[in-house]
Every structure is written in C-alpha cells, then in structure tokens.
C-alpha cells in the first residue's frame, strides 16, 4: 500500500512530481484540457450550437419556462427589428395580411353601404316615419327596425354538428348577430331532434328538419355523419335547401376521414368554415321604383276630389256672389254683412215687408238653401215704388181710384165714395215718404159722378097725385137720399156748396094751373121726404114746372109715366 510523501521535504516533492509526470503525463494533459473546457463552457459557442436546438425542444416539452423566459426578449427583438427594418416585416407578412385586410375592408364597406343605402332609402318615406315611430316605441335602433321590415330572409348562423354526439364541429355567424353559446345550442338542437324523433315514433330517416320560432326558422339538413343547421330570419326560398344540402355533401366529401375519426376534437373542421360562411346569405326586398296601381288610383281619386271640390267651391262662390248682386238690385232688400262659417254662409240685412221674398230668390240662385243662414231685420224702404205700393196697401182705394206719386206728393185721381175720401186723408199723411196728399181731382170727379147719378134718378107719380107711397117712389127717394148723403159729405170735404134743384112735372092732361100746382106739390113732397135739414152742404130748391115742354102732346092719347116725374139737378158752387 502506497503512502503519499510528507510535505515539506523539497526533494521528495520533486521526485514525486517527476514520477507523476512520467506515469500520468497523457491523462494529465487531457484533464487540464477538460478543466479548461468546463471553466470556459459559456464562451464556447462551438459546443453550444450543436445541442441548442435539441435543448430548446426538450425544455419546451417539459414546461413553459423557456417560453416565458424568451417571450419578452423575442417581443423586444421583434420591436427593434420592426423599427429598424420595417420593410422586412412588411414584405414578410404582406402576402398573408393583404388578402385578409382586403376581405375585412370589403366586408366592412359592404355592410356599411348596405346599411347606408337602406337608411337613405327609407329615411324620407311615410313607411320610414312609421318605422321611426316603432323604433322610438320599442327602443330598438332604427337600422334594426329597417332591417326587420325590409329583410326577406337572412341566414344568421350555420351550425355544423356531429350527428352521433351532437357536438359542434364548426360554426359561422353573420355580422351583428347575437350568438349564444354554440356548444349548448348544438347540444340542445340534437337533444330536441332526438326528443321529437322518439316522442312521435318517427323512423330513423324521418328527422326534425324545421323549427320555427317567431320570424326565426331553423332548417336542419341531415347527413350521414353530420348535421347542418341554418338559423334563418324571414322566409328563405326553397332553393336554399338545395344549397344547404350541397354544402353538407361537400363537407362530407372533404372531411370524410375527420368525420369518421371524430372523437371530440373539432380542429380538423376549421376548413369547413368558409363553406358555412357561404351559407350566410341575405336577401332584402327589392327597391320599389314603380308606384303601385292602388297608389295611382288613390292619387287620382285625390286629384279628382280636389278638382271637384275646387269647381264646386268656385261655382258655389259664383252663385253666392250672383245671389248677393241680385239682392243688391232688389228694392226693399239691403245686405249689411256676409261671412262664411265652415261651408255655410251667414247673411244679415234689412228687408222691407213689401220686398220680394229672399228665400224665393235663393231657391232660384243655385245656392243650397240649407247652407245659407239669413237674418233679415224689417224696415221701410222709401223708394217711390215701395211708397206707392205701401200707400195702396194702407189706403185700399177702390178700383175707380188711381194713386200716383211725384216726389213726396201722393195724388189720388178717379172717383171714390165719400167714406173712402174721408178716411184716406189722415192715413195718407201718416205714410212714410209722403208729405203731401192731393185728392182734389178725385173729389171733383166724385162730385160730378154723384151729380150725374142724381140726374138719372126720377121719382114717378100717378096721375093727379103728389103723394109718395108706392114702393117704387119710396125706393127712388132712398136712392136719392143715399146719393145726397154722399154728395153732402164730398161737398163738405171739398169745401163747396151744392145747390139741388128739385123739379116737379106733370103730364099734359088737365088744366095747366092745376098741373102747375100739382107739379109744385110733387116737388115739395119729394123735398119733404128727403129731410133737407140733414144735409149741411146742400141747398134745396123745389119747384114745379107743370107739363114739361117735351111731354106728350097728344090729346086723348095715353100719357107717359115719365111725364109725371120729379127730377134732380145739382150744381156746385164755391163755399161762400
């Protein structure tokens, strides 16, 4: 057994070193070499580069520490690289990013244009006003309301579901579509299909293929390994079924192996997503350029109604104006104001009771009678015609009297009884518009007429008598008395005096003296019978003239009764 030489002996140390050098020289040299390598390991890139890739891969499989350690440095290095050489990064990612950017921009622009077009199209129409009200009422955005009303159909979501497990393979949804948890929706959809199929005893090839909730419809296409379910708002065309079936067939063809081996990992079906996105179709109501026939009819009806109303109104106005002009021309009618109340005319005015009836005029005017409310106040019109007419009404002259008017002077001509002449005088002066009444002519003519009438009355006597006792004699006396009363009154009204000559006559039979006396007796008999004292304006003169000169002269022949008469002759004299 070897022992090591004790330290402190130089000779021994030297020998020992020499021996060691002789025995272990090659190993010593190698050890020193290795020691140097170990001590300078971090500086030796030559050694490190041989194990670095494997080392990184190995560590990466073990845990994430390497990733965590490198992440900040890689990020920083990337940042520095981008700042220093931006073109390099741009060149590198441009082929990847540009198509994606172009597609994103195109999608965004398309969505924006669609929204803008719809908004502009509907911003000013009556329908859009209704939709704005609906938006206010429901609290939904206007764009959403427009979408709901103009949308014919829109495929909002498409689910690709594994037929056996009900697990979701792929999913695509449109812009601005509220998406629920796709996994749960997928599961529930499968569950509902199973429930329906079991509950209603359907055969395996009879599956639920349509669900409808409100305006949402779910169309389900069944494939051998997968189901395609499209959530559609609105009413899609039947041809969309064909598109869904084609898509499902294509997916089955392209992912046949993945479907067969599916065990929960949906990653292989990411490639089916573009196919699903192609199913996200939408169709809006075509823009209506043409106006519907009913709108034309409606507009035409409005135009015709407006024209009819305009013409009617114009004609009505014309008739009304003509009526007013007619009223203005009509004496005794004065329109003081007119105005319209709705479709009625209100008229106020003055009407002489003798004027024409405005209602009769209205009936002839063409204006509807029930549209006019007239308020006429009575008044006296002072027109000559009305004054004269009113005089005629008030005085009620007999047919033998004619009234004329000259200014304020009313003149009565013709003949009339004393009574009327007497009554008309005070009345005439009370008539409005008349300040003077002239009845001199009528008085004179009346006197003449009375005198003439009296001249025509004879009272006949029997031969040799002078008494008045026969009915004819008494009637003649009454007649003369009546005339005298009128004559007396007219004379008094006119202020004249009448002298009445009562002349008695006899026939030629008998002596002339006797006939003279008999004629005088006859005249006195009549005078007495007339009671002359009752006539204040008449002076009576009775006389007998014997046989009248024109009496029948034939002797022995029969005498005429008129030869034995009493006659009357009146003369007018101005009052003394």
């Amino acid at each position: 057994m070897a022992h090591a030489p004790k330290a402190g002996t130089p000779a021994v140390d030297r020998d020992y070193a020499e021996l060691r050098s002789l025995l272990l020289a090659p190993e010593q040299s190698r050890l020193e070499q290795l020691q140097e390598q170990v001590e300078h390991l971090d500086l030796n890139a030559h050694n490190l580069n041989r194990v670095l890739p494997e080392a990184i891969a190995l560590r990466g499989d073990t845990d994430h520490r390497l990733t965590h350690a490198l992440t900040p440095h890689v990020s920083e290095a990337l940042g520095v690289s981008v700042r220093k050489q931006p073109h390099m990064i741009v060149d590198a990612i441009a082929p990847i990013m540009m198509p994606a950017i172009r597609q994103a921009i195109a999608n965004a622009l398309r969505s924006m244009m669609q929204s803008l077009n719809q908004t502009i199209e509907h911003s000013l129409s009556i329908r859009s006003m209704q939709w704005r009200l609906e938006a206010l009422r429901t609290g939904k955005p206007f764009a959403e309301i427009v979408l709901l009303h103009t949308l014919r159909y829109r495929v909002e979501q498409v689910f690709l579901i594994h037929a056996q497990t009900g697990l979701l393979l792929a999913h695509a949804a449109g812009d601005a579509v509220a998406v629920q948890d796709q996994t749960l929706v997928s599961g529930m959809l499968s569950a509902i299909r199973s429930f329906v199929q079991d509950s209603f005893g359907a055969t395996p090839d009879q599956a639920l293929n349509t669900l409808q909730v409100g305006d949402l419809t779910v169309w389900i296409e069944q494939g051998p390994s997968a189901i395609l379910a499209a959530v559609i708002r609105g009413t899609p065309p039947e041809t969309f079924h064909v598109h869904l079936q084609d898509t499902l067939t294509r997916i089955h063809a392209e992912h046949f192996d993945a479907l067969a081996r599916f065990s929960g990992d949906a990653a292989p079906f990411a490639g089916a997503r573009p196919l699903l996105e192609e199913c996200l179709r939408a169709q809006f109501e075509p823009r209506r350029h043409a106006i519907a026939p009913i709108t034309w009819i409606f507009l035409a009806a409005i135009v015709l109604a407006t024209i009819w109303w305009g013409v009617s109104t114009f004609q009505d106005r014309q008739h009304w104006q003509a009526y007013l002009e007619r009223l203005a021309l009509e004496p005794g009618l004065v329109v003081t104001s007119t105005h319209s109340e709705g479709n009625r005319y209100v008229l106020t005015g003055l009407r002489d009771p003798l004027a024409a009836d405005p209602d009769v005029l209205l009936q002839d005017s063409g204006v509807a009678v029930d549209r006019v409310e007239a308020k006429w106040s009575p008044y006296y019109a002072l027109d000559a015609a009305f004054t004269l007419k009113r005089a005629g009404l008030v005085l009620s002259p007999p047919d033998t009297v004619r009234l004329t008017l000259e200014g304020p002077r009313l003149t009565a001509t013709g003949t009339a009884g004393a009574e009327w002449i007497r009554q008309s005088r005070p009345l005439a002066r009370l008539l409005p518009g008349i300040t003077e009444y002239d009845d001199r002519h009528i008085v004179a003519r009346s006197l003449e007429a009375l005198i003439q009438q009296m001249a025509g009355v004879w009272i006949l006597f029997q031969q040799g008598t002078a008494t008045i006792q026969s009915p004819d004699q008494l009637q003649g006396v009454r007649r003369i008395s009546e005339l005298l009363h009128q004559l007396d009154e007219v004379a008094r009204l006119s202020g004249v005096t009448v002298i009445l000559e009562i002349t008695g006559q006899t026939d030629v039979v008998g002596r002339s003296s006797r006939n003279q006396r008999l004629s005088e007796d006859r005249a006195r008999s009549v005078l007495d019978a007339l009671h002359p004292a009752t006539f204040s304006a008449i002076t009576f003169h009775a006389r007998g003239i014997g046989p009248a000169p024109e009496s029948s002269p034939s002797l022995g022949a029969a005498t005429l009764p008129q030869d034995r008469r009493v006659s009357f002759q009146a003369t007018v004299h101005p009052a003394s």
């Binding site: 594994h162 037929a163 056996q164 497990t165 009900g166 697990l167 979701l168 948890d181 996994t183 749960l184 599961g187 529930m188 569950a191 199973s194 429930f195 199929q197 079991d198 065990s263 929960g264 990992d265 949906a266 990653a267």
Partner: protein, 178 residues
C-alpha cells in the same frame, strides 16, 4: 380543444341537475326542479395541459313512468350514474340504467355518484352495498351537490378516463371523493 359528450343518468330526484349545477356554476338550490326531457350544459376543464369541454346532457330522472331514451345516449363518450344514498331503491334503478347505457354505448367509461353525502346518517345505501359496487369494478364517488364534496373529483375522474383510452374498461375502485 376537445369536446366530450357526457350523460347524467339516474332515478328521478337523485340530484343529477344539482350535481351539474354544482359542477358548472358552483351553485346549489334546495328547490327541486324536475327535468323535462333533457337540458344541455357545458364545462371546460384543463387536464394534463389539454383543454376539454364537457357537454353535459342532463337527462330526466328515470322512474316507472319515464324510461331512459337510448337516443339521448347516442354519441356519449362517458356517463355518470347518480343515485340517492338516502333511497336504496335508486341503487336498483342505477343498476338497470347502467345496463341500458352499456348496451347502447358499449364499453365507455362511467362513474357512479352516490349523492347527498351531506346527510350520510340518513342513508339507506350501506357500506355493504358500496362494497358490492366496488366488487363490480365500478368507480364510485360519494358526493354532495349541496356542499360540493366529491363532485369535482367525480367529473374529473370520468374525464381522465375518457381521455386516456376511449375503449378502456370502466375504472375500478371506490372512493368517497374526500
């Protein structure tokens, strides 16, 4: 991302929906709501650095009026058979259901959850019953949807089994999940 369909099976009112709610949302409600048909829920788990989404089909509870519909089971990668520890009858139903599921799905992984662990003193299911289940080679978890005890573990165990080998035979052994 991997998705797996899982069915919740069991007699009525054993707590299937409560377990799903506890597992998915960590919530529990005493108010019983019967499931009509099926409800679908999901939960994403991270397992062995892999992300797995479980799509949970919560089926209506089976009783004498409603039998399990095989169409719901189709495509399931695994299933959970739930029974109520306080009602021994649910054990018999669970045995029947498992046979049906195995017949429909083949040898896919499943886990048995004996629920209502929070009321263990009132249980009718005995330790002997549990031992018999273990003897069958079934993986049994004692769970409480109310407290959350054993729930996560039950689902995780099934998930792990599904991910390992789809054709793998059911897990063996019994655990109370604590």
């Amino acid at each position: 991302m991997i998705e797996k369909k899982i069915c919740m099976l069991g007699a009525f009112a054993v707590g299937k929906t409560s377990l799903v709610r506890r597992f998915v949302t960590s919530c529990f409600s005493d108010q019983y709501q019967t499931t009509i048909g099926v409800t679908v829920d999901k939960k994403t788990l991270s397992m062995d650095s892999r992300s797995v989404t479980l799509v949970l089909w919560d089926l209506y509870g089976e009783d004498e009026f409603q039998k399990l519909r095989r169409s719901y089971l189709r495509g399931s990668s695994g299933y959970l058979v739930v029974l109520d520890g306080m009602r021994r009858a649910t054990l018999d139903i669970a045995l029947h259901i498992q046979l049906t599921a195995a017949d429909a799905l083949g040898p896919v992984p499943f886990v048995v959850l004996i629920n209502k662990l929070d009321r263990r003193p009132d249980w009718e299911v005995t330790d002997q019953d549990l031992a018999q289940l273990a003897q069958r080679g079934w993986t049994v978890f004692l769970t409480s949807a109310k407290t959350g005890q054993g729930v996560e573990e039950g689902f995780t165990a099934l998930t792990r089994a599904m991910l390992s080998t789809p054709q793998e035979t059911p897990l063996a052994g019994t655990t109370d999940g604590s």
